[in-house]
Symmetry: C2
Subunit: 684 residues, 2 copies
């Protein structure tokens, strides 16, 4: 078949890649075996007709949820048919690319029973759940309460006479809300409710509550349950986020998960051993989210990079790296500096997110290993960092997806870019699992504690907050300045990290001083803005640090093969980590220059260096996004497909529009014709 100009353009751009894409993909996914396994699992999904995405834009919410149910069931079957571990399962979910009613069955229902159930409860429930003889969800959030769990209004009152719990929605706002899988699919829910015995409130505990009959799937009497309706931007269309109100609904005492707290037949409550173990699962969830954001933003930049490489607009003869192609052609949009300076830093961010995702996961695993042997030293720091990164990474991923869409100009507003679906799927991550602004307080609190530690016992300061020691001698610190004297100095890792550390330390001490000055008469929340600034600053520092370390590691001949990459890849990676670090400085420039740490001349120099860096990546960006290894099935984008045939694919997609099956539209006879004929027939 004859190649379109679009296809030629993308193919030609690929020839300019200066490094091995295989090599780079292995770096991103931690080795070829992981890459192979990911491809295998994605293909498992892609082969199944039920996971075909082509008619998604035409489904209304009812049709979409029915599809979601069908997809859920097939996903469950595949999981049982194949020996797939958790990573494979999350890869399947990545490939399916739309949250399904069954997601929380594995993601929460089974996990919570395993972590908070007794041996007997695990033996009783887990096999049934693993075999999908029951379908579960996790019901925590209520209409009136999300962030503030301690104020949940659902109650579970012990009824000694019948040895039961009476689950009750005490108020209208106690209705469970947003519960994924509850709307139509689940037979059971784990319900968070205040445990009450003899009028005494023991706080929130978890109970397994049957919702629908295993015989006919009808909701049980005493439960009002349903779907909460469509979500913003058409997101989570196939997910049956649901509500439930309980009216003095009875369940057996044994349905309370009793690994930690217990209630005996005669209503005696036993307190849990004070356990911070729940923090572990939060850290895990956030680590997974960071990895998700890496795949999301990398998908967005893949689509934008490919389309902007084949889109041509205006002819700027001096602005082309394809001079050997037909000179009559217009300039590829990706060659415009404005476009490059918006897009390329997001490609660098995507790489930084991949690194952060695996680093965070590593931190989680070593934390768990430590905790299993009773060592919780790292808990506070790891939890704080996971909070800061969850907040920062989900924020830039959502903003980045929309920025990529805008970069695509007019055609970017078509559903067929694949980006609007992606954005709709990302944005809730900014407000769930801890609102991104509320979360930043965790990091700030931690740093304030560390400042006290730094003053009392400097050697006890944990690794990522060592920079606080800089601020101990305040006057010396306030005279500190950036060592850059020529543009190329910006590329020195120590210069970059020093700048991030100075900024973090300054913001942390300013917050600390302000609070000390307030002498406790202000409210903590008066400082939320400062908390947010310092938390994001710390997240950016950690990401820059990890990226730098990971590239150093990658060139270490001693390093294990999976992590080692060729020199050509190293030089591309160095450009990326430099661009990542320096473009953060540019977008947050005031944080670096308002106290004089960067001089006016250095600010100008930084701008020049970023422009140079960006330009230096021009020949490699197509290869860099190819290295993300996202197949067309996953991208589901007419404009970002691997073959670059953007216009043809956009055209074909339009032809598949159901409206185009008729040559005269619905509503012509009822509406249009009467209007046209209102003032009589005319001939033209």
């Amino acid at each position: 078949m004859e190649q379109s100009q679009n296809m030629k353009d993308l193919a030609f751009a690929r020839t300019k890649t200066t490094f091995s894409i295989t090599d780079m993909t292995n770096y991103l996914y931690g080795g070829s075996s992981n890459v192979e396994q990911r491809r295998y699992v994605i293909d498992l999904i892609a082969r199944e007709p039920i996971f075909n995405k082509s008619d998604w834009p035409w489904l209304n919410h009812t049709e979409a949820v029915k599809r979601g149910v069908a997809m859920s069931v097939r996903l469950a079957e595949i999981k049982m048919e194949h020996e797939l571990n958790d990573l494979d399962f999350s890869t399947m979910i990545e490939a399916i690319d739309d949250p399904l009613p069954i997601l929380l069955h594995n993601g929460a229902f089974i996990q919570v029973i395993n972590s908070q159930g007794t041996e007997e409860q695990i033996d009783f429930w887990i096999p049934k759940a693993e075999q999908y003889q029951i379908i579960g969800c996790y019901a925590q959030t209520e209409l009136g309460h999300g962030s503030n769990l301690s104020s949940l209004e659902t109650t579970a009152t012990f009824v000694k006479e019948t040895d039961q719990w009476e689950i009750h929605s005490t108020t209208f706002t106690a209705a469970k809300w947003w519960i994924g899988g509850l709307g139509v699919a689940s037979t059971h829910a784990i319900v968070q409710a205040k445990l009450i015995i003899d009028g005494k409130d023991y706080g929130a505990h978890v109970f397994i509550v049957p919702i629908r009959s295993l015989e006919d799937h009808k909701p049980f009497p005493g439960i009002q349950v349903g779907d909460i309706g469509p979500k913003a931007y058409g997101g989570f269309a196939k997910m049956d986020n649901g509500f439930a109100r309980f009216n003095k609904y009875r369940i057996p005492r044994e349905n309370m998960l009793m690994r930690f707290s217990k209630v005996s037949k005669d209503g005696v409550y036993t307190k849990p051993p004070h356990a911070k173990l729940s923090y572990g699962s939060m850290v895990l969830l956030r680590s997974v989210m960071i990895r998700q954001m890496a795949t999301y933003l990398s998908r967005a930049t893949t689509i934008a990079t490919r389309y902007l490489t084949v889109r041509r607009q205006f002819n700027n003869p001096t602005q082309r790296n394809d001079a050997d192609l037909n000179p009559g052609l217009e300039t590829q949009v990706i060659n415009y500096p404005m476009v490059q300076n918006r897009l390329f830093p997001m490609i660098a961010q995507s790489y930084a997110l991949f690194v952060a995702g695996s680093e965070m996961m590593g931190k989680y695993i070593s934390l768990m290993t430590g905790m299993s042997s009773g060592n919780i030293d790292a808990l506070a720091e790891v939890h704080a960092i996971s909070s800061a990164l969850k907040s920062y990474c989900t924020t830039i991923a959502a903003a980045g997806a929309e920025e990529c869409r805008k970069l695509m100009g007019g055609h970017g507003y078509s559903y067929f870019t694949g980006l609007s679906h992606l954005f709709a799927m990302i944005v809730p991550s900014n407000t769930y699992e801890g609102d991104n602004y509320v979360l930043t307080q965790q990091m700030a609190r931690y740093l304030l504690k560390e400042i006290k530690t730094a003053r009392a016992t400097p050697d006890k300061v944990t690794p990522f907050s060592r920079y606080l020691l800089l601020g101990l001698s305040r006057d010396q610190f306030s005279r500190a300045f950036c060592k850059v004297s020529q543009d190329s100095d910006w590329l020195i890792p120590e210069v970059q990290l020093a700048a991030f550390e100075h900024r973090c330390a300054r913001l942390a001490f300013e917050l600390n001083d302000a609070i000390e000055a307030g002498e406790g008469c202000d409210n903590w929340s008066d400082y939320n803005i400062e908390c947010c600034r310092v938390s994001h600053a710390h997240a950016q520092y950690v990401m820059a640090l990890w990226f730098t370390e990971s590239v150093q590691e990658a060139q270490d001949p001693e390093a294990d093969e999976d992590r080692r990459v060729q020199l050509a890849s190293i030089s591309a990676l160095k450009k990326l980590l430099n661009l990542h670090a320096l473009s953060i400085m540019l977008t947050n420039l005031a944080d670096f220059c308002e106290d004089g740490y960067f001089s006016p001349a250095q600010c100008q120099s930084l701008r020049r260096q970023v422009k140079v860096l960006v330009a230096s990546l021009a020949d490699d960006v197509v290869g860099l996004v190819d290295a993300f290894d996202h197949p067309d099935f996953l991208l589901d984008s007419a404009l970002g497909a691997n073959d670059g045939d953007a216009y043809k694919r956009l055209w074909d997609k339009a032809q598949s529009e159901p409206l185009n099956r008729k040559d005269v539209c619905d509503g012509y006879k009822e509406y249009i014709r009467p209007l046209l004929k209102k003032h009589g027939d005319i001939k033209l």
Copy 2:
């Protein structure tokens, strides 16, 4: 009926308003008569069942377009039934709140014929169009070309023998694309095509092309026409954005609009008198868009402000302005400083947008008056400002709507906030009518010209670029610094405007110097980043200036009554204009401090002053958004309704979800049951 706590909270918050809401509404809309007329027109729409919005979220694209057709026809009838001027018509469109297939019939088809048709053509086409005996659209953009009009590929070749034009899509990418109204509704299109006579290309001209038969609405042979499919985020769902390919399609010579260029029967082409008149319509369109952005962002802030006033989370006893209410209640989310500092600046922006909208419209009208008497002096400046403002205002409106949605936390992800529909409707404005980044070059080009003027003939510099005179003595300029010595100094208008002017002048001269240093060997697009910075800086300056002047005017006893407002309102307005100006400085702080114009101490002082300003608005924000006067029908938001009954409305909306009509979902028998029973029946 008993008031819910939500309702009590909003009602109580209203009692704290310090100014007259009526007064403020009159200020925003330029007088009570405008306010009354707007209410009357919105009510005209709200009364009609066909414009009811309650089932919108359940419609798929085909159903939505059919609805759009029905709404279009009713809109056309109302327009004919009532004596409504253009402003009223745009108010109707605002009230309908979703672009309709018929929109471009009035918005472009009729306008273009009136401006580019001959008297005969106007007499022939306009009455038919006014009576909707034909339905028209405007076909300019093609699959392969948007921004670069000069490269459109559709041709209109003169066929002398038959005295016809042959309209032809020379290539695949020549297909017209994105054309609103073309997908299913239009009978005619104004087509932009390259005029060709005897093989000579005379460039793009406009032709009236019949698309569908007036008898049966079937497309004519030689035209392949259809709908391009769904848009991002479910936006423009009722609009039939369409495509068309022409295959040597013949139309009469008379169908070329010949007011300016003419082609005679024997194929003689007459050049148009060089006319910049087309600029006028661009300025108009952009002025209208700025006014639209004011209503859009004000709707978003209305919804967020009301919901966050009734949403309570956590109990911070010291953080309440409702102490006289039940102290047992949790804190209203809007009382948290972080929330206030994110939300209140957007309320201030909304006010600034209202002012900018009417100022820009005023500039357009006086420009037209001037031009009609041959005076085009103001054209260049007004066109540049309209470009800069369109780019800046549509950018902040889109970002603001999404930020408001995120402010609403978990429930913000529900479609029923009304914000996702709003965002989806706003975002294309960032890329159509001139991509927001490309547009900024207009402003930059203009300022570079003005710098030459400033050097040659300083007195000839136009009003809004007077600040360039500051930069003429560069060393003096580089030693300039901000005069603030105490926090309250930030409230001095001269201090604010001086800072904006210094920033604009610096950026403009830096751009100018860089280009002069490049001595033309660089490409203009190498400076697009700098163009964008200076253009946004100028837009922000102009908006701050206009807001300041408008408030001064409002307190002038001489001012005409429509514009005059009470002192209480003035003090609220002053807080808003200060917050608008100072929060811009904060979000762009590096532009002000990197050259030392703001000292480190002043940066800290600015942060303090903004926090104080924000806090000072806490009692007034509900009143300030009420003053936008957006009825519930327009907001279409469960969480932002006027009565504040957020939870109840969200609940009721969920109950209306079609999925909830069945107690067992579609797909249970085919999918869920077989899965549950796969490993045999279990009893629980």
